[in-house]
Protein backbone atom coordinates (compact mmCIF):
# COMPACT_ATOMS: atom_id res chain seq x y z
CA UNK A 1 0.00 0.00 0.00
CA UNK A 2 1.27 3.48 -0.88
CA UNK A 3 2.30 5.42 2.21
CA UNK A 4 0.86 8.92 2.55
CA UNK A 5 2.43 11.93 4.23
CA UNK A 6 1.12 15.29 5.40
CA UNK A 7 3.60 17.90 4.18
CA UNK A 8 1.74 21.16 4.78
CA UNK A 9 -0.87 22.44 7.22
CA UNK A 10 -2.82 25.68 7.33
CA UNK A 11 -5.36 27.24 9.66
CA UNK A 12 -7.69 30.21 9.46
CA UNK A 13 -8.15 30.65 13.22
CA UNK A 14 -11.64 29.81 14.46
CA UNK A 15 -13.81 32.60 15.88
CA UNK A 16 -16.18 35.26 14.60
CA UNK A 17 -15.30 37.27 11.49
CA UNK A 18 -18.29 39.46 10.68
CA UNK A 19 -19.01 39.66 6.96
CA UNK A 20 -15.92 37.74 5.85
CA UNK A 21 -16.89 35.02 3.38
CA UNK A 22 -16.59 31.42 4.48
CA UNK A 23 -14.98 30.54 1.13
CA UNK A 24 -12.39 33.27 1.67
CA UNK A 25 -11.42 31.70 5.00
CA UNK A 26 -11.16 28.32 3.27
CA UNK A 27 -8.94 29.78 0.57
CA UNK A 28 -6.66 31.45 3.13
CA UNK A 29 -6.27 28.21 5.09
CA UNK A 30 -5.52 26.33 1.85
CA UNK A 31 -2.94 28.92 0.81
CA UNK A 32 -1.29 28.69 4.25
CA UNK A 33 -1.03 24.94 3.90
CA UNK A 34 0.47 25.27 0.40
CA UNK A 35 2.99 27.83 1.67
CA UNK A 36 3.83 25.51 4.58
CA UNK A 37 4.54 22.79 2.01
CA UNK A 38 6.63 25.19 -0.05
CA UNK A 39 4.47 24.62 -3.09
CA UNK A 40 1.46 26.04 -4.90
CA UNK A 41 -2.03 24.99 -6.04
CA UNK A 42 -0.79 23.98 -9.50
CA UNK A 43 0.88 20.90 -7.96
CA UNK A 44 -2.40 19.69 -6.40
CA UNK A 45 -4.12 16.92 -8.37
CA UNK A 46 -7.18 16.21 -6.23
CA UNK A 47 -9.01 18.01 -3.41
CA UNK A 48 -11.75 17.30 -0.86
CA UNK A 49 -13.51 20.34 0.53
CA UNK A 50 -15.80 20.04 3.56
CA UNK A 51 -18.54 22.40 4.72
CA UNK A 52 -22.03 22.40 6.19
CA UNK A 53 -23.06 25.98 5.50
CA UNK A 54 -21.51 26.37 2.01
CA UNK A 55 -23.55 24.33 -0.45
CA UNK A 56 -20.79 24.16 -3.07
CA UNK A 57 -17.53 24.32 -1.13
CA UNK A 58 -15.58 23.45 -4.29
CA UNK A 59 -16.13 27.11 -5.24
CA UNK A 60 -12.94 27.69 -3.23
CA UNK A 61 -11.12 27.03 -6.52
CA UNK A 62 -12.33 30.50 -7.56
CA UNK A 63 -9.64 31.80 -5.18
CA UNK A 64 -7.06 29.03 -5.59
CA UNK A 65 -7.13 28.62 -9.36
CA UNK A 66 -9.25 26.92 -12.02
CA UNK A 67 -6.91 24.05 -12.85
CA UNK A 68 -9.52 21.46 -13.82
CA UNK A 69 -8.60 18.86 -11.17
CA UNK A 70 -11.25 16.70 -9.49
CA UNK A 71 -12.62 18.58 -6.46
CA UNK A 72 -15.26 16.95 -4.28
CA UNK A 73 -17.52 18.51 -1.67
CA UNK A 74 -17.71 16.64 1.62
CA UNK A 75 -20.29 16.71 4.37
CA UNK A 76 -20.48 14.01 7.00
CA UNK A 77 -21.74 15.75 10.11
CA UNK A 78 -19.19 16.32 12.87
CA UNK A 79 -16.97 13.67 11.20
CA UNK A 80 -16.56 15.82 8.06
CA UNK A 81 -12.90 16.80 8.58
CA UNK A 82 -11.84 13.23 9.28
CA UNK A 83 -13.75 12.08 6.23
CA UNK A 84 -11.93 14.63 4.05
CA UNK A 85 -8.58 13.43 5.43
CA UNK A 86 -9.50 9.82 4.76
CA UNK A 87 -10.67 10.51 1.21
CA UNK A 88 -7.60 12.59 0.31
CA UNK A 89 -5.43 9.77 1.68
CA UNK A 90 -7.35 7.22 -0.39
CA UNK A 91 -6.99 9.35 -3.53
CA UNK A 92 -3.22 9.07 -3.15
CA UNK A 93 -3.30 5.37 -2.24
CA UNK A 94 -5.51 4.62 -5.25
CA UNK A 95 -3.20 6.51 -7.58
CA UNK A 96 -5.57 9.32 -8.55
CA UNK A 97 -3.12 11.88 -7.21
CA UNK A 98 0.46 12.21 -6.02
CA UNK A 99 -0.46 15.44 -4.23
CA UNK A 100 -3.93 16.03 -2.74
CA UNK A 101 -5.55 18.51 -0.37
CA UNK A 102 -8.15 18.28 2.38
CA UNK A 103 -9.79 21.63 3.06
CA UNK A 104 -12.57 22.42 5.55
CA UNK A 105 -14.49 25.60 6.32
CA UNK A 106 -17.65 26.76 7.99
CA UNK A 107 -19.47 29.85 9.19
CA UNK A 108 -22.33 28.98 11.52
CA UNK A 109 -24.99 31.29 12.93
CA UNK A 110 -24.86 31.79 16.70
CA UNK A 111 -26.59 29.46 19.15
CA UNK A 112 -27.67 25.84 19.17
CA UNK A 113 -28.03 24.22 15.76
CA UNK A 114 -31.65 24.62 14.65
CA UNK A 115 -33.24 22.64 11.85
CA UNK A 116 -36.48 20.96 10.92
CA UNK A 117 -36.47 17.32 12.10
CA UNK A 118 -37.43 16.21 8.58
CA UNK A 119 -33.85 16.88 7.43
CA UNK A 120 -32.81 13.78 9.38
CA UNK A 121 -35.99 11.80 8.69
CA UNK A 122 -37.76 12.54 11.98
CA UNK A 123 -41.39 13.65 12.38
CA UNK A 124 -42.40 17.27 13.01
CA UNK A 125 -43.78 16.62 16.51
CA UNK A 126 -40.27 15.68 17.67
CA UNK A 127 -39.15 19.24 17.03
CA UNK A 128 -42.42 20.90 18.07
CA UNK A 129 -42.26 19.36 21.56
CA UNK A 130 -38.65 20.43 22.18
CA UNK A 131 -36.89 17.08 21.76
CA UNK A 132 -34.84 17.84 18.64
CA UNK A 133 -31.66 19.19 20.22
CA UNK A 134 -28.31 17.46 19.88
CA UNK A 135 -27.29 18.75 23.31
CA UNK A 136 -29.83 16.43 25.00
CA UNK A 137 -27.77 13.48 23.86
CA UNK A 138 -24.59 14.79 25.45
CA UNK A 139 -26.25 15.61 28.78
CA UNK A 140 -28.02 12.26 28.92
CA UNK A 141 -24.99 10.18 27.95
CA UNK A 142 -22.56 11.73 30.45
CA UNK A 143 -25.16 11.75 33.22
CA UNK A 144 -25.69 8.00 32.84
CA UNK A 145 -21.93 7.42 32.41
CA UNK A 146 -21.17 9.32 35.65
CA UNK A 147 -23.84 7.27 37.45
CA UNK A 148 -22.46 3.96 36.13
CA UNK A 149 -18.74 4.62 36.49
CA UNK A 150 -18.41 6.92 39.48
CA UNK A 151 -17.33 10.10 37.71
CA UNK A 152 -17.87 13.34 39.66
CA UNK A 153 -18.94 16.72 38.27
CA UNK A 154 -15.57 18.22 39.33
CA UNK A 155 -13.87 15.97 36.79
CA UNK A 156 -15.96 17.51 34.01
CA UNK A 157 -15.13 20.99 35.27
CA UNK A 158 -11.41 20.16 35.36
CA UNK A 159 -11.54 19.01 31.73
CA UNK A 160 -13.22 22.26 30.66
CA UNK A 161 -10.68 24.27 32.72
CA UNK A 162 -7.80 22.39 31.08
CA UNK A 163 -9.05 23.08 27.56
CA UNK A 164 -9.69 26.75 28.32
CA UNK A 165 -6.21 27.03 29.91
CA UNK A 166 -4.70 25.46 26.77
CA UNK A 167 -6.66 27.94 24.67
CA UNK A 168 -5.26 30.79 26.74
CA UNK A 169 -1.71 29.91 25.61
CA UNK A 170 -2.70 29.21 21.98
CA UNK A 171 -2.44 32.47 19.99
CA UNK A 172 -4.87 31.04 17.39
CA UNK A 173 -7.61 29.93 19.80
CA UNK A 174 -11.02 31.65 19.96
CA UNK A 175 -11.44 31.47 23.77
CA UNK A 176 -8.21 32.80 25.24
CA UNK A 177 -9.18 33.29 28.87
CA UNK A 178 -8.59 30.63 31.50
CA UNK A 179 -11.61 29.92 33.69
CA UNK A 180 -11.40 28.38 37.16
CA UNK A 181 -12.95 25.04 38.10
CA UNK A 182 -15.23 26.81 40.58
CA UNK A 183 -16.47 29.30 38.00
CA UNK A 184 -17.17 26.47 35.56
CA UNK A 185 -19.09 24.54 38.23
CA UNK A 186 -21.09 27.62 39.21
CA UNK A 187 -21.94 28.80 35.68
CA UNK A 188 -25.47 28.29 34.33
CA UNK A 189 -26.57 24.72 33.64
CA UNK A 190 -27.40 24.26 29.95
CA UNK A 191 -28.37 20.60 29.98
CA UNK A 192 -27.93 18.91 33.36
CA UNK A 193 -25.22 18.21 34.46
CA UNK A 194 -23.38 20.26 31.80
CA UNK A 195 -22.79 23.94 32.45
CA UNK A 196 -22.18 26.74 29.99
CA UNK A 197 -18.37 26.56 30.13
CA UNK A 198 -18.43 22.80 29.59
CA UNK A 199 -19.85 23.16 26.06
CA UNK A 200 -18.27 24.17 22.80
CA UNK A 201 -20.08 26.66 20.55
CA UNK A 202 -20.53 26.82 16.80
CA UNK A 203 -18.36 29.48 15.13
CA UNK A 204 -16.37 30.18 11.94
CA UNK A 205 -13.03 29.18 10.52
CA UNK A 206 -11.10 26.92 8.18
CA UNK A 207 -8.23 24.46 8.09
CA UNK A 208 -6.35 22.66 5.32
CA UNK A 209 -3.76 19.94 4.70
CA UNK A 210 -1.44 19.14 1.82
CA UNK A 211 -0.84 15.40 1.46
CA UNK A 212 1.39 13.49 -0.92
CA UNK A 213 2.92 10.10 -1.70
CA UNK A 214 5.42 9.41 1.05
CA UNK A 215 8.22 8.75 -1.45
CA UNK A 216 8.06 12.33 -2.73
CA UNK A 217 7.48 13.98 0.66
CA UNK A 218 11.03 15.32 0.82
CA UNK A 219 10.22 17.60 -2.10
CA UNK A 220 7.90 19.51 0.23
CA UNK A 221 8.95 19.01 3.84
CA UNK A 222 11.96 18.03 5.91
CA UNK A 223 9.64 16.63 8.60
CA UNK A 224 6.69 14.90 6.95
CA UNK A 225 4.03 13.37 9.18
CA UNK A 226 2.75 10.00 8.00
CA UNK A 227 -0.90 8.95 7.96
CA UNK A 228 -0.73 5.53 9.67
CA UNK A 229 -4.51 5.15 9.70
CA UNK A 230 -7.59 7.23 8.84
CA UNK A 231 -10.79 5.34 9.57
CA UNK A 232 -14.48 6.21 9.51
CA UNK A 233 -17.28 4.19 11.09
CA UNK A 234 -21.03 4.71 11.46
CA UNK A 235 -23.34 3.47 14.21
CA UNK A 236 -24.49 -0.10 14.46
CA UNK A 237 -27.95 -1.20 15.59
CA UNK A 238 -28.18 -0.59 19.33
CA UNK A 239 -25.59 2.18 19.65
CA UNK A 240 -26.79 5.05 21.86
CA UNK A 241 -27.05 7.91 19.39
CA UNK A 242 -28.31 11.43 18.89
CA UNK A 243 -31.83 12.10 17.66
CA UNK A 244 -33.26 8.71 18.54
CA UNK A 245 -36.93 8.71 19.65
CA UNK A 246 -36.42 5.07 20.58
CA UNK A 247 -33.54 2.61 20.82
CA UNK A 248 -33.31 -1.17 21.17
CA UNK A 249 -32.74 -2.65 24.64
CA UNK A 250 -29.68 -4.54 23.43
CA UNK A 251 -26.84 -2.03 23.24
CA UNK A 252 -23.58 -2.06 21.27
CA UNK A 253 -20.53 0.23 21.56
CA UNK A 254 -20.34 3.67 19.95
CA UNK A 255 -18.95 4.01 16.41
CA UNK A 256 -15.99 5.69 18.13
CA UNK A 257 -14.98 2.30 19.55
CA UNK A 258 -15.25 0.69 16.11
CA UNK A 259 -13.29 3.44 14.32
CA UNK A 260 -10.63 3.47 17.04
CA UNK A 261 -10.09 -0.29 17.03
CA UNK A 262 -9.86 -0.34 13.24
CA UNK A 263 -7.32 2.50 13.25
CA UNK A 264 -5.09 0.82 15.85
CA UNK A 265 -5.17 -2.44 13.90
CA UNK A 266 -4.34 -0.84 10.55
CA UNK A 267 -1.58 1.32 12.06
CA UNK A 268 -0.09 -1.49 14.10
CA UNK A 269 0.05 1.09 16.90
CA UNK A 270 -1.72 0.75 20.25
CA UNK A 271 -3.16 3.36 22.61
CA UNK A 272 -0.11 2.98 24.87
CA UNK A 273 2.07 4.26 21.99
CA UNK A 274 0.15 7.53 21.52
CA UNK A 275 2.00 10.63 22.78
CA UNK A 276 -0.60 13.34 22.12
CA UNK A 277 -4.32 13.17 21.29
CA UNK A 278 -7.16 15.31 20.03
CA UNK A 279 -10.52 13.94 21.21
CA UNK A 280 -13.94 15.34 20.25
CA UNK A 281 -14.91 17.60 23.15
CA UNK A 282 -18.33 18.83 22.08
CA UNK A 283 -18.63 19.09 25.85
CA UNK A 284 -16.36 18.18 28.75
CA UNK A 285 -18.32 14.98 29.34
CA UNK A 286 -17.68 13.85 25.77
CA UNK A 287 -13.93 14.18 26.27
CA UNK A 288 -14.15 12.06 29.43
CA UNK A 289 -16.16 9.34 27.67
CA UNK A 290 -13.94 9.46 24.58
CA UNK A 291 -10.80 8.79 26.66
CA UNK A 292 -12.23 5.33 27.35
CA UNK A 293 -13.98 4.76 24.01
CA UNK A 294 -10.66 5.37 22.22
CA UNK A 295 -8.88 2.85 24.42
CA UNK A 296 -6.71 5.18 26.51
CA UNK A 297 -8.18 4.16 29.87
CA UNK A 298 -10.89 1.99 31.36
CA UNK A 299 -14.39 3.26 32.17
CA UNK A 300 -14.19 5.18 35.44
CA UNK A 301 -10.41 5.56 35.42
CA UNK A 302 -10.83 9.11 34.09
CA UNK A 303 -11.58 10.26 37.62
CA UNK A 304 -7.99 9.57 38.70
CA UNK A 305 -6.41 10.54 35.35
CA UNK A 306 -7.97 13.99 35.46
CA UNK A 307 -7.27 14.52 39.17
CA UNK A 308 -3.61 13.67 38.50
CA UNK A 309 -3.39 16.01 35.48
CA UNK A 310 -2.55 13.13 33.14
CA UNK A 311 -4.22 14.80 30.13
CA UNK A 312 -2.61 18.20 30.66
CA UNK A 313 0.37 19.35 28.58
CA UNK A 314 3.24 17.56 30.31
CA UNK A 315 0.98 14.74 31.52
CA UNK A 316 1.23 11.16 30.32
CA UNK A 317 -1.30 11.72 27.49
CA UNK A 318 -1.88 15.39 26.69
CA UNK A 319 -5.40 15.79 25.23
CA UNK A 320 -6.65 18.78 23.23
CA UNK A 321 -3.43 20.75 23.60
CA UNK A 322 -4.77 23.63 21.45
CA UNK A 323 -7.87 23.96 23.63
CA UNK A 324 -10.01 21.56 21.63
CA UNK A 325 -13.53 22.43 20.56
CA UNK A 326 -14.20 24.05 23.93
CA UNK A 327 -11.62 26.80 23.28
CA UNK A 328 -11.82 26.88 19.47
CA UNK A 329 -15.51 26.33 18.77
CA UNK A 330 -16.79 24.01 16.08
CA UNK A 331 -16.99 25.08 12.44
CA UNK A 332 -18.10 21.57 11.47
CA UNK A 333 -16.42 21.32 8.08
CA UNK A 334 -13.05 22.44 9.49
CA UNK A 335 -12.99 21.06 13.03
CA UNK A 336 -11.39 17.70 12.25
CA UNK A 337 -8.68 19.30 10.15
CA UNK A 338 -7.87 21.69 13.02
CA UNK A 339 -7.25 18.57 15.11
CA UNK A 340 -4.80 17.28 12.49
CA UNK A 341 -3.18 20.72 12.20
CA UNK A 342 -2.45 20.70 15.93
CA UNK A 343 -1.09 17.14 15.94
CA UNK A 344 1.22 17.93 13.02
CA UNK A 345 2.58 21.02 14.85
CA UNK A 346 3.11 18.93 18.00
CA UNK A 347 4.91 16.11 16.18
CA UNK A 348 7.11 18.63 14.34
CA UNK A 349 7.94 20.48 17.56
CA UNK A 350 6.32 23.69 16.30
CA UNK A 351 3.58 24.15 18.93
CA UNK A 352 5.26 26.99 20.81
CA UNK A 353 4.20 27.59 24.40
CA UNK A 354 1.84 24.59 24.34
CA UNK A 355 4.46 22.18 22.92
CA UNK A 356 4.26 18.70 24.46
CA UNK A 357 7.72 17.84 25.88
CA UNK A 358 9.93 14.85 25.04
CA UNK A 359 9.60 14.86 21.24
CA UNK A 360 6.21 13.26 20.74
CA UNK A 361 6.25 10.72 17.88
CA UNK A 362 2.67 9.46 17.60
CA UNK A 363 -0.50 11.56 17.50
CA UNK A 364 -4.19 10.65 17.44
CA UNK A 365 -7.30 12.51 16.29
CA UNK A 366 -10.94 11.63 16.96
CA UNK A 367 -14.26 13.06 15.79
CA UNK A 368 -17.76 12.01 16.79
CA UNK A 369 -21.16 13.45 16.06
CA UNK A 370 -24.62 13.30 14.57
CA UNK A 371 -26.12 11.13 13.27
CA UNK A 372 -23.68 8.61 14.77
CA UNK A 373 -20.40 8.71 12.87
CA UNK A 374 -16.81 8.72 14.08
CA UNK A 375 -13.49 9.34 12.34
CA UNK A 376 -10.13 8.45 13.86
CA UNK A 377 -6.64 9.07 12.52
CA UNK A 378 -3.25 7.95 13.76
CA UNK A 379 -0.33 10.09 12.63
CA UNK A 380 3.39 9.71 13.28
CA UNK A 381 6.79 11.07 12.34
Amino acid sequence: MTDVAIVGVGLHPFGRYGDKLCLEMGAEAAQSALTDAGTDWSRVQSAYVGSYEVSNPDAVVGWLGLTGIPVRGVFNGCATGGTSLQMATQAIRHGEADVAMAIGMDKHPRGAFAADPSVVGLPSWYGQTGMFLTTHFFGTKINRYMHQHGIGIETLARVAAKNLANGAINPQAWRRTAVSVDEILNSAVVNYPLTRYMYCNPDEGAAALVLCRADIADQFSSSPIYVRAAELRTRREGAFELQSPSLPLQSVPSPTVDASRAAYEIAGIGPEDVDVAQLQDTDAGSEVIHMAENGFCGDGEQEKWIADGDTEIGGRLPVNTDGGLIANGEPIGASGLRQVYEIVLQLQGRAGERQVPNNPRVGYTHLYGAPGASAVSILSR
Binding site: A112, W125, Q128, G130, M131, L133, T140, L194, P248, L249
Partner: protein, 136 residues
Amino acid sequence: MSASNQKPVAEGLFTWPSDEPQLIGSESDGRYSFPARPSANQVLLERRGTLWGFTTQQFRPPSPPYDGDDTAETFEPYALGYVELPGQLLVQARFTESDPNKLTIGQEMELRVVPYTTRADGTEILTYAFAPVEGN
Protein backbone atom coordinates in the same frame (compact mmCIF):
# COMPACT_ATOMS: atom_id res chain seq x y z
CA MET B 1 -61.20 22.43 30.16
CA SER B 2 -63.20 19.98 28.08
CA ALA B 3 -61.54 17.36 25.90
CA SER B 4 -62.79 19.15 22.78
CA ASN B 5 -60.30 21.93 23.51
CA GLN B 6 -57.42 19.48 23.59
CA LYS B 7 -55.64 17.85 20.68
CA PRO B 8 -52.64 15.51 20.39
CA VAL B 9 -49.55 17.03 18.75
CA ALA B 10 -49.76 14.23 16.16
CA GLU B 11 -52.05 11.31 15.39
CA GLY B 12 -50.91 7.78 16.08
CA LEU B 13 -48.44 8.54 18.90
CA PHE B 14 -50.52 7.45 21.89
CA THR B 15 -53.98 6.18 22.77
CA TRP B 16 -56.20 9.14 23.61
CA PRO B 17 -58.52 9.97 25.19
CA SER B 18 -57.71 7.40 27.83
CA ASP B 19 -57.32 7.23 31.61
CA GLU B 20 -54.38 4.92 31.08
CA PRO B 21 -52.73 6.13 27.88
CA GLN B 22 -50.18 3.98 26.04
CA LEU B 23 -47.63 4.81 23.38
CA ILE B 24 -48.29 3.24 19.99
CA GLY B 25 -45.16 1.49 18.78
CA SER B 26 -44.48 -1.27 16.33
CA GLU B 27 -42.84 -4.66 16.37
CA SER B 28 -41.26 -6.63 13.58
CA ASP B 29 -39.23 -9.82 14.16
CA GLY B 30 -38.86 -8.93 17.83
CA ARG B 31 -37.59 -5.45 17.04
CA TYR B 32 -39.63 -2.69 18.67
CA SER B 33 -39.79 0.90 17.47
CA PHE B 34 -41.40 4.16 18.51
CA PRO B 35 -42.97 5.92 16.74
CA ALA B 36 -44.51 3.00 14.86
CA ARG B 37 -42.90 2.07 11.56
CA PRO B 38 -45.50 2.21 8.79
CA SER B 39 -44.85 -1.31 7.52
CA ALA B 40 -44.60 -3.07 10.91
CA ASN B 41 -47.29 -4.44 13.26
CA GLN B 42 -48.58 -1.83 15.67
CA VAL B 43 -48.27 -2.67 19.36
CA LEU B 44 -49.23 -0.76 22.49
CA LEU B 45 -46.13 -0.18 24.59
CA GLU B 46 -45.79 -0.77 28.34
CA ARG B 47 -47.07 2.11 30.48
CA ARG B 48 -44.39 1.65 33.11
CA GLY B 49 -40.65 1.35 32.89
CA THR B 50 -37.44 2.43 34.58
CA LEU B 51 -35.50 5.66 34.13
CA TRP B 52 -32.45 4.85 31.94
CA GLY B 53 -30.86 8.30 31.68
CA PHE B 54 -31.84 11.95 31.66
CA THR B 55 -30.84 15.56 31.21
CA THR B 56 -32.64 18.89 31.27
CA GLN B 57 -33.43 21.63 28.81
CA GLN B 58 -32.68 24.90 30.62
CA PHE B 59 -33.18 27.35 27.74
CA ARG B 60 -35.97 27.77 25.18
CA PRO B 61 -35.16 25.55 22.18
CA PRO B 62 -34.72 27.18 18.76
CA SER B 63 -38.16 27.98 17.33
CA PRO B 64 -39.05 26.70 14.83
CA PRO B 65 -39.12 23.77 15.14
CA TYR B 66 -40.13 24.19 18.85
CA ASP B 67 -43.65 25.61 19.01
CA GLY B 68 -44.27 26.21 22.71
CA ASP B 69 -46.32 29.37 23.42
CA ASP B 70 -43.66 30.61 25.84
CA THR B 71 -40.88 33.15 25.34
CA ALA B 72 -37.22 33.09 26.33
CA GLU B 73 -38.34 34.88 29.52
CA THR B 74 -41.34 32.71 30.42
CA PHE B 75 -39.82 29.38 29.33
CA GLU B 76 -39.98 26.71 32.03
CA PRO B 77 -37.09 24.22 31.95
CA TYR B 78 -38.03 20.58 31.58
CA ALA B 79 -36.29 17.27 32.01
CA LEU B 80 -36.17 14.55 29.39
CA GLY B 81 -34.38 11.32 28.70
CA TYR B 82 -34.95 7.62 28.12
CA VAL B 83 -37.24 5.16 29.88
CA GLU B 84 -36.56 1.44 29.55
CA LEU B 85 -39.82 -0.37 28.83
CA PRO B 86 -39.34 -4.00 29.92
CA GLY B 87 -38.95 -6.43 27.05
CA GLN B 88 -39.57 -3.69 24.47
CA LEU B 89 -37.28 -0.68 24.00
CA LEU B 90 -35.80 2.54 25.34
CA VAL B 91 -38.13 5.42 24.57
CA GLN B 92 -37.15 9.09 24.66
CA ALA B 93 -39.62 11.39 26.40
CA ARG B 94 -40.13 14.56 28.34
CA PHE B 95 -40.75 14.09 32.05
CA THR B 96 -43.37 15.74 34.25
CA GLU B 97 -40.67 16.34 36.88
CA SER B 98 -38.27 19.10 35.83
CA ASP B 99 -35.89 19.06 38.83
CA PRO B 100 -32.91 16.78 38.05
CA ASN B 101 -32.29 16.35 41.78
CA LYS B 102 -35.66 14.62 42.06
CA LEU B 103 -34.86 12.08 39.34
CA THR B 104 -32.77 8.95 39.88
CA ILE B 105 -31.58 6.51 37.24
CA GLY B 106 -33.40 3.22 37.77
CA GLN B 107 -36.55 4.67 39.33
CA GLU B 108 -39.99 3.60 38.11
CA MET B 109 -41.75 5.90 35.64
CA GLU B 110 -45.28 5.87 34.19
CA LEU B 111 -46.74 7.37 31.03
CA ARG B 112 -48.93 10.46 31.09
CA VAL B 113 -50.47 12.61 28.38
CA VAL B 114 -49.96 16.29 29.16
CA PRO B 115 -50.46 19.67 27.49
CA TYR B 116 -47.18 21.36 26.51
CA THR B 117 -48.52 24.46 24.75
CA THR B 118 -51.75 26.35 23.99
CA ARG B 119 -52.63 27.62 20.53
CA ALA B 120 -54.02 31.12 19.89
CA ASP B 121 -57.58 29.70 19.69
CA GLY B 122 -57.25 28.19 23.18
CA THR B 123 -56.63 24.60 22.05
CA GLU B 124 -54.23 22.77 24.33
CA ILE B 125 -51.73 20.63 22.45
CA LEU B 126 -50.97 17.30 24.12
CA THR B 127 -47.81 15.26 24.14
CA TYR B 128 -46.60 12.24 26.08
CA ALA B 129 -44.40 12.47 29.16
CA PHE B 130 -43.29 10.08 31.86
CA ALA B 131 -43.95 10.79 35.54
CA PRO B 132 -42.07 9.34 38.52
CA VAL B 133 -44.24 6.67 40.19
CA GLU B 134 -45.10 7.93 43.67
CA GLY B 135 -43.95 5.89 46.64
CA ASN B 136 -40.69 4.76 45.05
